[in-house]
């Protein structure tokens, strides 16, 4: 009995002490005070598709050493808070926002936090969205919160951040119209391009031998520049074929390219005053599968043994497969593509190869059409601007690096950057 009493006394003493100690050790939650940030605003992110918001406030001395936690909610101003970003004072200033200087005030003394809701909500924002935001400021043991602000995000019709792109486009368009008017008054000079001069020779040879000419426009679709350039060349080749009363065959990979090519060849035969020589089977559809197309064109070349083969347009792995077979039957071969990693194969297997820009120039060079020649001249204008820009800006940047002109690189970068 005595032992039991001693045990119970000890147990009660220990229990009461434990409860007391626990009550003493319990940490009181820190009180969250309200704070006013200077010029604190919730905005729609400017010049975007409507997927981001923007929180801005000014830096003040009392924010030194603070940590910011930006909380957002798309539910209400009371619940559903998600921590969008957490950062220290001095980070996420307005100059870090990915917008150029002409479309956003890049004040380093201002905080600007882009709220990318696609990432925050882990789902695609598809329509206008209201959001609530507040900032929690942690400085040592003190935690304070701002009032809740709300704003609406929406897509913008005009992208002022892409103004540089628009200006370049307008300048190019203006130059184009000036050059067109000049080209119509008096012809414009284009230097000799050897590969294109050989076209006449190839067609002439095919005519003399009484063999067909194969024109392969490649596996490009109509939106590809090389395919568009190829159709221009096809027009000129078809015109010459019609004049010489030779025979051309154009095997196609893409049905739309085939339809466009049909119109072009028909037009070329009409312009050559040989509409009766035009045949519907000049343009043939082969396959929309790359290698079955290549296999069949190879088969056609080896069976029909053309005297001249043109591979002009967009080509991928089938370039050598086609050019090899053409070379094996002894055809004169002219190739042209802007796919740079296929050009070496054409160099090895063809007699003449048009490299990239030469292909774009081909239509203008062959037809001497004022509109096409003007387009070529505008391209040259672009190249000239490019060369001068690279030379002048490089020198400026080297001098700037030596003289420590801070900001020069930043300005140039923003002018040339594509947003």
């Amino acid at each position: 009995m005595k032992n039991t009493l001693i045990f119970l006394t000890a147990f009660l003493t220990f229990s009461s002490y434990s409860s007391f100690a626990a009550s003493q050790n319990k940490v009181k939650p820190a009180a969250i005070s309200q704070i006013e940030l200077k010029n604190f605003e919730a905005l729609d992110f400017p010049y975007d598709k409507g997927e981001s918001g923007l929180l801005v406030w000014e830096h003040t001395p009392e924010l030194e050493g603070a940590q910011f936690s930006v909380l957002v909610s798309t539910v209400s101003d009371k619940e559903g808070w998600i921590e969008a970003v957490k950062f220290s004072a001095g980070e996420n200033t307005a100059d870090k926002i990915n917008l150029p200087f002409w479309s956003f005030n890049k004040n380093k003394n201002k905080y600007a936090v882009a709220l990318e809701f696609n990432n925050i909500l882990s789902s695609q924002v598809k329509e206008e969205l209201n959001y609530f935001a507040k900032v929690k400021i942690i400085k040592g043991k003190n935690i304070s919160e701002t009032k809740v602000l709300s704003s609406k995000i929406k897509g913008n019709w005009f992208r002022a951040d892409r103004l540089n792109n628009l200006i370049v486009f307008l300048v190019v368009t203006l130059v184009f119209f000036i050059v067109v008017s000049h080209a119509k008054k008096k012809g414009l000079f284009i230097r000799r391009i050897a590969g294109l001069d050989a076209i006449d020779e190839a067609i002439g040879r095919a005519t003399e031998m009484g063999k067909p000419i194969f024109y392969v426009p490649g596996i490009g679709v109509m939106s590809q520049i090389s395919t568009i350039a190829s159709t221009f060349v096809l027009g000129e080749v078809a015109k010459k074929v019609a004049q010489y009363d030779s025979y051309i065959k154009v095997p196609h990979y893409d049905p739309i390219v085939m339809t466009v090519s049909k119109e072009i060849v028909k037009q070329a035969y009409t312009e050559a005053e040989r509409p009766d020589s035009y045949k519907e089977d000049i343009n043939v559809f082969i396959s929309h599968d790359q290698f079955s197309y290549a296999a069949n064109v190879d088969g056609l070349i080896s069976r029909e043994k053309p005297a001249a083969c043109f591979y002009i347009g967009y080509f991928m792995a089938e370039s050598l497969l086609l050019a090899e077979v053409g070379a094996s039957i002894g055809a004169i071969q002219i190739a042209g593509t802007d796919v740079d990693h296929q050009l070496p194969f054409f160099f090895t297997a063809c007699d003449y190869t048009l490299i990239g820009e030469e292909l774009y120039a081909a239509g203008a060079y062959l037809s001497k059409e004022p509109m096409l020649v003007s387009a070529l001249k505008v391209q040259d204008f672009g190249k000239l601007v490019f060369m001068i820009s690279v030379a002048v800006f490089s020198l400026l940047l080297i001098i700037g690096a030596k003289m420590e002109w801070k900001g020069l690189a930043g300005i140039l970068t923003e002018i040339l950057k594509v947003y």
Binding site: I225, T259, A295, G299, Q342, F393, V418
Partner: protein, 244 residues
Amino acid sequence: MSEGMIIFGAWIAAALTLFLFSFLYKDNPFFKIAEHLFIGAGMGWYFQTIFYKIMIPKIWEPLHSGDPFKIFMVVIPALLGLSLITQFIPKISWISRYGFTFMMGYSAGMAIPVGLATDFMNQILGTIEPFANFFALSGWQMFNALAIAIGTICVLFYFFFSVEHKGAGKKVSNLGIYFLMIYFGASFGNTVMARFSLLYGRFDTLVNYSSAKYFYATSWILVGLTLYFVAEKLITSAKRETAE
């Protein structure tokens, strides 16, 4: 898949591969079989892809959704697409021009701003960017930055068609060609290596199919092809001799 089907598949794969390789010797009926089968299979695959991945989900389903907005958004592109088919009817083939004009305009509209942005402005920026910290670069990095800038200018000058390339211009243009050839050489080597790896893959499959497990598929087909070519050569020679 049953064992029998696997063996059958191996025979088909080995046969089609060897039939296509037989073109390296010369055009022959086996190559023609593989060629036409290839075209048919390719087109069949393409048709079902278009049908199930585009026509059903992008046209048929929105048209039957009952939502007027969705229907409106599909009707105009669908009509423009259908206008292309009028090419088959000469009397109304002019309608197809609307579809083609839209496609050409849309493509140009898409391509021009992207082209200006990536091929022009970004390219200039990429070329000049290293010069911003030029004196902080190592010797090799300096050489690299200069080589890229000079190479870019020289190669562009090679493609400059408005002036005759003579005198100093000729030298700049020739330097541009050297830069191009260095690039093409590297690109050629790289692509050839990739092609060889594809060829090894094919050879590996053929060797695999020549095992007892597949009843020596590759070996039997190879023997058959060789016999055909020998017989064909003998018959052709005999015919030629008879004709002479």
